[in-house]
């Protein structure tokens, strides 16, 4: 299984490289920008795919967590603490490189928190909210859970739009790039297009590997069991409630991280990222890709997000996703891509029985 998984990821890597070479070679290097953004959205979608496809829980609030990630990191990195330099806490942050001075647009110096600290804060906040929301809400079934997560997403969206400190309808801009390691950063201008592209899709590949590993592990099996026959799973010792909660938190954290990274890449965030339509979009993509199929979901996400970002759907963007949702649910409830992709991949990298290693 591991070889098969490695082969899958390698094949994926090849596709990523090929796409970049094609785009750059054809003089359409600007495609890479939209592809990079698609990659970050895909992170959020993958988490949702795990939640919906494996744990069988619907969430219409994924965009809410995306927004929590994006807004938290935007807020913390665009703070200006320079007026408080003297304060001991601020001085300590500077010494620890957790607060970094940057030049602002007017040639002055701004002191914001380091993107690493901001990212950490965002993830902690996202996870905390996910726990607070998940504990009461995951006991609910079907419609109730959908509505509760929808309500959550709308609350976040309303707060984002209605709060001056968060930029209200304009959102927050001027978010600095996120230097992951010296020399490698999320964001920046068109000169950084290619490195950003590989960084983004590299992160997606990493996420895929982790999730694929998870699915083929004891925990993944337990999740699938919950989805298959929850009572039987419980009778076999699976703590369904705890597992659902952890999956919910994991999905929330992937959305939060996705929000952080995309915000740094774009240099800003707006309230539309928190909106219900975004959450619906994520659900539509998971539905198209196949509820249980990570590769299917990744493909659907890459393609649909790219087309949407390039504006191919024009003014009918939301209508397209709505229509996709309906069509898939009516005619292909298992997802359009799921079946085919699995068959294709099993020819590329044959399945071994679990437990056998190379």
């Amino acid at each position: 299984m591991r070889t098969s998984r490695a082969a899958q990821v390698a094949a994926f890597g090849a596709v990523v490289v090929a796409a970049q070479l094609a785009a750059s070679g054809a003089g359409k290097a600007f495609f890479l920008t939209q592809l990079t953004m698609s990659a970050y959205y895909t992170l959020a979608v993958l988490g949702l795919s795990l939640l919906m496809g494996y744990a069988g829980q619907i969430s219409l609030g994924q965009a809410g967590f995306f927004a929590i990630g994006g807004y938290t990191s935007a807020l913390l990195t665009t703070l200006d603490l320079s007026s408080r330099r003297g304060h001991p806490a601020v001085a300590a942050l500077v010494r620890l490189h957790l607060a970094t001075p940057r030049p602002d647009l007017f040639g002055g110096q701004v002191l914001g928190l380091s993107p690493w600290l901001a990212c950490l804060a965002a993830v902690v906040l996202g996870a905390a909210v996910a726990v607070a929301l998940g504990v009461p809400v995951l006991r609910l079934r079907g419609h109730y859970l959908a509505m509760a997560t929808l309500a959550f997403g709308t609350i976040v969206s309303s707060i984002a739009v209605g709060t001056q400190a968060l930029g209200a309808a304009d959102g927050i801009s001027g978010v600095p790039p996120f230097e992951l390691v010296p020399g490698l950063r999320v964001g920046g201008g068109s000169a950084d297009r290619v490195p950003n592209y590989y960084l983004a899709w590299g992160l997606v590949a990493l996420a895929m590997l982790l999730l694929l590993n998870l699915i083929h592990s004891r925990t993944g099996r337990a999740l699938a069991a919950i989805h298959g026959a929850e009572d039987a799973a419980r009778a076999m010792g699976v703590d369904a409630g705890a597992l659902k909660l952890r999956t919910f938190v994991l999905a929330a954290v992937t959305a939060t991280v996705s929000g952080v990274l995309l915000t740094h890449y774009n240099g800003g965030i707006g309230p539309s990222e928190a909106g219900v339509m975004k959450s619906v979009r994520y659900v539509a993509i998971v539905a198209v890709g196949g509820m249980g199929s990570l590769w299917g979901t990744l493909t659907a996400s890459a393609v649909l997000n790219f087309l949407s970002l390039r504006g191919y759907f024009g003014a009918y963007d939301d209508a397209v996703f709505g229509g996709i949702l309906v069509a898939v649910m009516l005619f292909f409830p298992d997802g359009i891509l799921a079946a085919d992709l699995r068959a294709l991949l099993s020819r590329v990298a044959p399945r071994r029985a679990p437990g056998e290693e190379t």
Partner: protein, 251 residues
């Protein structure tokens, strides 16, 4: 101290008293049958013992620890395992994967070790698959390993559920109408299987309608009627019990 002690347990649903003051014991290493006409409360009793429902009154002790009101996954961790009357296999997972879930209480890998695919988790996966395969061989369905459980025949799915329940190496196995839908040959095989399970040291509590099966495998039989226990003795004695005969017309 018996392995399982059910003490004056009652349960009502709205206006219906499903179980009324039922007490019985299951001694370790024995097979106990639980019979009674439809609606007698057998399945409710099963749900109470396995943690799917909590009794309104009374206690249930397993290995001298109270289990009434505890959720099913805790009962499983303590050494109880069960099958279901209307089969609950995991339809989209292979038969082997189904049985591997049965090893859940005997393994520990979580989210992190799962995602990181640590050497330890890899070793554990091999061990889980191995144990699952053994359980399937014991039940006689090893050949079905790679087939999605949803496409198996009814009798085969019963086998999968049984192997799954056995995979956890339970101290107490609860069988909920295991012979339902089986033909005579399959039922005879089942009787033999239950005997072999007992030989392994697993205690069995079996709810069944099939009289010949219950009488042939059980060391003791308890009879429920309208939520109350009306007999509890060796099979022979129960068959000759006037109340029991009256309650059962035919069969």
């Amino acid at each position: 101290m018996a392995l399982l002690e059910v003490d004056r347990v009652s349960k009502r649903f709205g206006g219906v008293q499903a179980v009324r003051g039922v007490s019985f014991r299951v001694e370790e290493g024995t097979v106990k049958g639980l019979i009674g006409p439809n609606g007698a409360g057998k399945t409710t009793l099963f749900d109470l013992v396995s943690g799917f429902r909590a009794p309104d009154e009374g206690t249930i002790r397993f290995r001298d620890r109270r289990v009434d009101g505890r959720p099913p996954h805790e009962a499983a961790a303590l050494g109880m395992s069960r099958t279901f009357q209307n089969l609950k296999v995991f339809p989209h997972m292979t038969a082997l994967e189904n049985v591997m879930v049965g090893r859940h209480v005997r393994s520990t890998g979580g989210f992190v070790s799962g995602m990181l695919h640590t050497p330890r988790s890899r070793r554990e996966e091999r061990a889980i698959a191995q144990a699952a395969l053994e359980a399937m061989e014991f039940v006689g369905i090893a050949g079905l390993a790679g087939i999605p459980a949803g496409s198996l025949s009814y009798g085969q799915q019963r086998g999968v559920e049984l192997a799954r329940a056995l995979a956890s190496e339970p101290a107490l196995l609860l069988l909920d109408e295991p012979a339902a839908g089986l033909n005579m040959r399959e039922t005879a095989d089942l009787a033999g299987l239950i005997g072999r399970i007992r030989e392994r040291g697993v205690t069995v509590l079996v709810v069944e309608h099939d009289m010949s099966l219950v009488m042939s495998v059980s060391d003791e039989v308890a009879v429920l009627c309208f939520g109350e226990k009306i007999a509890d003795a060796a099979p022979r004695a129960v068959q000759e019990n006037a109340d029991v005969v009256r309650v059962y017309l035919g069969e």
